[in-house]
Symmetry: C2
Subunit: 437 residues, 2 copies
C-alpha cells in the first residue's frame, strides 16, 4: 500500500493543485464565533462562566487560577519533566535574548536627528489550547519572548478540565516565565475576553497562540476590531527535502511526527532524484512508514493525516527550491548532503523555520533546541515570520530637528506641501521660521 | 469662539470618552467591498476596466502605465519638486538603510546551532490613493523601504484621472524607487487585484498603503484570506504636549496641519499647567488658530476637522504621560522644554512617531526628515509599529544539530514528547539515535 501520492517533475501549472493545503471551509464557524464574541463583549464574566459550563463541562467558582493552585502545581510535576522544561527554557531564553533589538540613531543632516526606540507591548495575552495533551511547550514558546522583551503585563488563558483544574505542567511552565495571571477560559470566548476585556480580565494589546478553528476565527475577527494577533493560523505542516542518501527511516519519522499534530496536518516530501531511482526510494520510505506506524499509538489517526500527504520527485535542485518556495512550508527539513544542505537553505525565501541535516528533526525545534515553534502556516510564510522577541516589541520613531535643521529642510518641505496642496503643512514650517524662510 | 473642547485633570474613568476617536461605522461598507472583491476574483481584468469606468470615470485602454508615460513624467515635473523629492529620498533612504537587520547566530549548546536568516518579502504591492492632491510623498515612504529591503518585485496601484492619466509626480517618485510596474487601478478593486491576482496583475504577498474606508475595509478582508497588510488604518491624528513656554503659534499650526488631512482627522492638545494658567494659554492658542485659519485655503474644511479636537490641561507630568499612553497617538509632538522633552519621550510607550522640541513639526516627518509617515492610528500604536524596513522582511529561523547535539538533547525531547503524548515526535528522535539513547 502507498501512503504518499506521487508525482515527478511537475510543471509550474501543476504546482497549485499539487501544493494545495487541507483547509476546511471556515465560513461555517464565522457566525458561531461572532455570537460568542458579542456575548462576551455584552455580558462579560457571566458569559465566561456559562461557556465554561457549556463547552468545558466545568462548573467554575473563579476564573482566575489562585496562588494555592500555582504552588500545588510545583509538587505535582515530575522531577524529570521539570528538568526537561528547564533545559528547554534555557535554550529558548538564550536564542530569544539574542533577538533583542537595538534602536538606530542617525543624524541624517545637520540638525535632523532620527532614531527608533524599542518598547515592549504593554499587555500581551497568551492562549494555550486544551485537548488531549497539555501543551506546556507552547507556554514556554509564548511566555519566554514576553519575558525577554520585558512586557510589563502578561496574561494566560487556557481551558479547564471538567473538574475545573489546569494541568500542573502548564502552570509550572507559566511560573518559569513569571506568569501568574492565569484564567480558566478557553476557545473563542478566551480570545474575546482578552480582546475586549471583562470585569475580571483586563483587555490586552496583542494575542498570541494556536488553537482550533474557533479560536483562529475569533483571533481573525478581533484583529480587525481592537486587538493585534501574532499571525493567522492554520493546520501545521512540514516539507522534507531529501536526497537518495537521506536515511528513509529518518524521512518517514519526520512525516509521521508531522501527521501526529492533527488530521488536517500536512506532510510533504520532495526527493531530489531521477524518476526511477526516486520512486524506488519512495518505496523504501513507504516501507519505513509501515514499520514505524505499527509501533505508534493512534495509528488510525496518523493514517487519516497521511491521506493529505504527497511525494514529489524532482530531477533538478532548482526545481526542488521552486517547489519549496511555492509551498512556503511552516517547517522545512533539508536532508540532501553535508555539502548541499546549507547552499539549498540559502536559496529558500518562503519558510517558517528550516531544519538542516539528518539530525535536525522537527521535534527538536518543537520542544527544546531554542527556536520558536509558533510559525506561519498555510503559505503565510510568504509574508510572516514566526513568533520571536520582535513580536512582543514596537519600534517608535523619534525625530528632533534644531532650528537650523528645519531651516535647511524648509525649501524641500515648502515645495512638497505646495505640490500636495497641503497649505497648513506649509504653514507649520513657516510660522516656526518667521521671516527666515 | 472656542475651537477646542476643554477639560482639566480628568479622572481615569473619563479617559475613554475624552480620548475617543472620530470613527465612522465601517459595517456599512463591508458588503459593498465584499462584492467588489468577489467581482475581481471571479472576473479579473474585465472587472477592473468596469470599475474604472464606474468610479474613476476613466475609459482605460490598458491597465499598465507604459514606458512612454513614465519617460514623459520626467519632463512634466518641475525642477524644484524634483530637487525636493531627491532630498526627501536621500533622508528616507539613509534612515531606512540603518534599519536593515542582521540575523543572529548562536550555538546554544554543543552541536545545536541556531540562527535567523533575513529574507525580503518577494512581491509587495503599494497602494497610493487618488483624490485632490497627488500623494507622491507616500510613494517614497512605501517604495524606499522596499528598495532597501531588496524586495525583488514591487507593484504600485493608483487610481487614474478621468483622462486615464497618472500624475507625473507619482510616476517620477516611483521611478526614484525603481518601480516600473504601475497599474491604473484604485479603491477596493486595487486591493483585490493585488491580493488575488488577475490576468495582468500578479498577486502579491503583502499590501502597503493608506486609503479611504473602502480601501481599508478591503485590506482588512483580504488580510484574513490570502495576503498580509501593513496595518489596519484609520483617520490620521496628532497629540501635542505643550508647556506654557511653547509658542502658541507653533501649537496652533500643528493642530491645523493635522486637521488638514481629512474631516475625520483628530488633533489633541495636552497642556501641562494648573487650570487657570492653562486655560489662559488655551485662549492664546485659540487666537492663533483664528489668525492662521484666515490665511489658509479650505477654512470650512479645517473647521469641520477641528470639531473633533480636544484640549486637556493637566497639572502633573505623570498625568500627561498617562494621557499620551492611553490615547496612543499616531503622531506625538512634545514641546515642553529643552530639559523635559527627552525625559518625557522616554516614558512614552504607545505612539507611532515622536517629534521632539519646538522645531520638529509633523510636516517634517510627513515629507522629508527621513522617518516613515505610514504609522499606526486609532490606538493601534499599542501593538503596531509604523512601516519600516522590517515591514518588508521576514526572519526565518534555522537550526542545525549534530548527532552529538541531538543526543545531548534527547532526554529532554523524550520526556517532553511523552508528557505531551506525542509519540511520533519521540520516535523521530529515537530512530536517529538508534540504540544510542
Amino acid at each position: 500500500m502507498a501512503y504518499l501520492k506521487r508525482s515527478f517533475n511537475p510543471g509550474r501549472q501543476e504546482y497549485q493543485e499539487l501544493l494545495k493545503r487541507n483547509i476546511q471551509n471556515k465560513r461555517e464557524v464565522a457566525q458561531d464565533v461572532r455570537n460568542i464574541l458579542d456575548a462576551v463583549r455584552n455580558e462579560g464574566d457571566s458569559s465566561l462562566f456559562r461557556f465554561s459550563r457549556q463547552f468545558d463541562k466545568a462548573e467554575l467558582s473563579s476564573l482566575a487560577v489562585n496562588l494555592q493552585e500555582l504552588s500545588e502545581a510545583e509538587s505535582l510535576v515530575d522531577a524529570s519533566l521539570k528538568q526537561a522544561l528547564h533545559t528547554a527554557y534555557d535554550h529558548i531564553y538564550a536564542f530569544h535574548a539574542e533577538q533583542i533589538g537595538h534602536g538606530e540613531q542617525l543624524e541624517v543632516a545637520k540638525g535632523i536627528e532620527l532614531s527608533r526606540m524599542i518598547v515592549p507591548i504593554q499587555r500581551v495575552g497568551l492562549y494555550i489550547p486544551g485537548g488531549t495533551a497539555p501543551l506546556f511547550s507552547t507556554v514556554l514558546m509564548l511566555g519566554i519572548p514576553a519575558l525577554v522583551a520585558k512586557c510589563p503585563s502578561v496574561v494566560l488563558c487556557t481551558p479547564p478540565a471538567k473538574d475545573g483544574s489546569i494541568h500542573p505542567a502548564i502552570l509550572y511552565a507559566a511560573k518559569l516565565c513569571n506568569i501568574t495571571e492565569i484564567y480558566k477560559v478557553g476557545g473563542a470566548q478566551a480570545i474575546a475576553a482578552m480582546g475586549y476585556g471583562t470585569q475580571t480580565i483586563k483587555a490586552v494589546d496583542k494575542i498570541f497562540g494556536p488553537g482550533n478553528q474557533y479560536v483562529t476565527e475569533a483571533k481573525i475577527q478581533i484583529s480587525s476590531e481592537c486587538c493585534a494577533i501574532d499571525m493567522p493560523a492554520g493546520p501545521s505542516e512540514v516539507m522534507v527535502v531529501a536526497s537518495m542518501d537521506a536515511d528513509p527511516s529518518f524521512v518517514a519519522s519526520d512525516l509521521l511526527s508531522q501527521a501526529e499534530h492533527g488530521t488536517d496536518s500536512q506532510a510533504m516530501l520532495i526527493v531530489h532524484s531521477d524518476q526511477e531511482q526516486g520512486f524506488a526510494y519512495l518505496d523504501r520510505v513507504e516501507q519505513e512508514l509501515e514499520k514505524q506506524l505499527e509501533n505508534l499509538p493512534r495509528k488510525s489517526f496518523l493514517l487519516q493525516s497521511l491521506a493529505g500527504s504527497r511525494a514529489i520527485v524532482a530531477s533538478s535542485l532548482p526545481t526542488c527550491v521552486q517547489l519549496v518556495n511555492a509551498y512556503g512550508p511552516e517547517h522545512l527539513i533539508i536532508n540532501l548532503s553535508e555539502e548541499e544542505d546549507e547552499l539549498f537553505a540559502s536559496k529558500v525565501v518562503n519558510a517558517g523555520s528550516i531544519f538542516i541535516g539528518p539530525y535536525s528533526c522537527e521535534s527538536a525545534g518543537d520542544y527544546a533546541s531554542g527556536t520558536n515553534h509558533t510559525l506561519p502556516t498555510n503559505g503565510w510564510a510568504r509574508s510572516y515570520s514566526g513568533v520571536s522577541t520582535d513580536s512582543y516589541c514596537k519600534k517608535i520613531t523619534v525625530q528632533k530637528l534644531s532650528k537650523e535643521g528645519l531651516k535647511n529642510l524648509s525649501g524641500t518641505l515648502f515645495c512638497m506641501a505646495e505640490s500636495e496642496a497641503l497649505m497648513a503643512h506649509y504653514n507649520a514650517v513657516a510660522v516656526r521660521l518667521g521671516g527666515e524662510r
